[in-house]
């Protein structure tokens, strides 16, 4: 019961941080449609992973602050990384002039 409750709490926390990231316009310009949902999802997922990582390495008490800083880092870096990676893939697939 407790793991499920903690997971839900961290998912909620991550979504809040994702919402803040949307308000801070941290998502790439290319993600015009539904990009905000992706940022929310990234925040939730990274907070969940950070929470369990913090619980495993530091103990349950410190899982919360770990979830927070991981989520902030996630919403700040991952969208840019994903966008950069997508652009790089598109550039690679584009036919080159002979």
């Amino acid at each position: 019961m407790l793991p499920l409750m903690l997971s839900l709490c961290w998912l909620g926390l991550g979504m809040l941080i994702g919402a803040l990231a949307n308000a801070a316009k941290l998502r790439p310009a290319a993600w015009a449609r539904r990009g905000w949902m992706v940022v929310l999802g990234i925040g939730a997922l990274v907070a969940l992973l950070g929470g369990w990582l913090g619980a495993a390495l530091l103990g349950l008490t410190f899982a919360w602050p770990t979830a927070v800083w991981c989520a902030v880092l996630g919403v700040a870096l991952l969208p840019r990384l994903i966008a950069w990676w997508g652009a790089r893939r598109r550039a690679y697939r584009r036919p080159r002039p002979i």
Partner: protein, 392 residues
Amino acid sequence: MRVGQRAKPGRVVARVILALLFCLGCFLSLVPLGRAVMRSSLLLPALLSASSPAPLKLIGDPVRYTSRTLSTPNGPVYLDIYEPATPAPPIPGGREAIINVVGVGYYRHDPQLINLSESFAREGIVVVNIGTPAMFEFKISAQDAQAVVRTFELMEHWPGVNPRHIGLLVICAGITPASLAAADPRIRDRVAFIAVLAGYFDVAELLRNLGTRSQVINGHVQPWHADSTPLYTLARTVSDLLTPTESRLIEGAFPLGKYNPPLTRQQQARLSPAAAAFYHLLEGDEPGSVDRNLAALSPQMKALLVRLSPKSVIGQIRAPIYLLHERNDTIVPFSQSLEFAGALERLHHPYTLAGYGIFSHVTVESNLGLAQWLSDGPKLFMAITRVVQAGS
């Protein structure tokens, strides 16, 4: 953002909040001081409200309680162990353990003591409450130091405990066994800290406080009202050095929880000069003759007073000492902690001293005013942070 385009205030605020959350999260989880602050933030409400608040129950570890009895040459030692039920996390490498030397009149089922122990255990700290027959019988015993040393050695090998992160939390008369143990060559270099709540420094000086019903604060003599507990405890502690008749008379004169009428002249006449001097010091009926009465104590009594005083071993203690004391304490006068702090200062020994109004001796006062919370809360927060920093 294009050149010339102004950042919207909402966007800036959101970015600042995210930056602050990131810094706070890193500080509270990655920096040892931050982890101690995180723990204190959760423990402070638990200690002030004398019950575990919901956040601590949700965030903290589940608690496992075990009871154990150690055999020592001085008799059994009863241990109540509260520890997190989860395995110790790899960072910072083993749990902190706090050996709680509760002192005389130790009541194992006291709700505030259980709350204190469980709250620390929820925060990942192993707490051991020590009880000995002498403590249960309101007798201060130097021999109980063996119980503390044995418990310390047990904790050094306790699963999940980091042997370098074991400290002593001392309550009132627990200071005698705790200070003697902290000065014991077997463990003195490994004690992480000693946190003392309402402890005394010099039992002879405590008798002087009782004899004059006064204390000296910053050079000023102030009247001091003594509770019946120190009278009862000292009467029982010294009774082994008295004849059965003297012991019965003096213990009868100072019961626990009430004030009996003074001994009659006929009863006083049955006391030896040393016992009579001791009686008058406890009764406080000869404030002008305190020096004479102290001098009239038997050599055995004087030796006992020295043996029970942390003053006699202060130079051999290595661990930092954190003194906490209620300013209006009626069981041990605040001046004892001031004297303790003064001696530590002269020795250049690491220490802190904080005076409180938030406790009644060692129990949390109910119906505290906001001013009291604001004034004493930060001091208590700092004290808890120091205690939990050893293992954070």
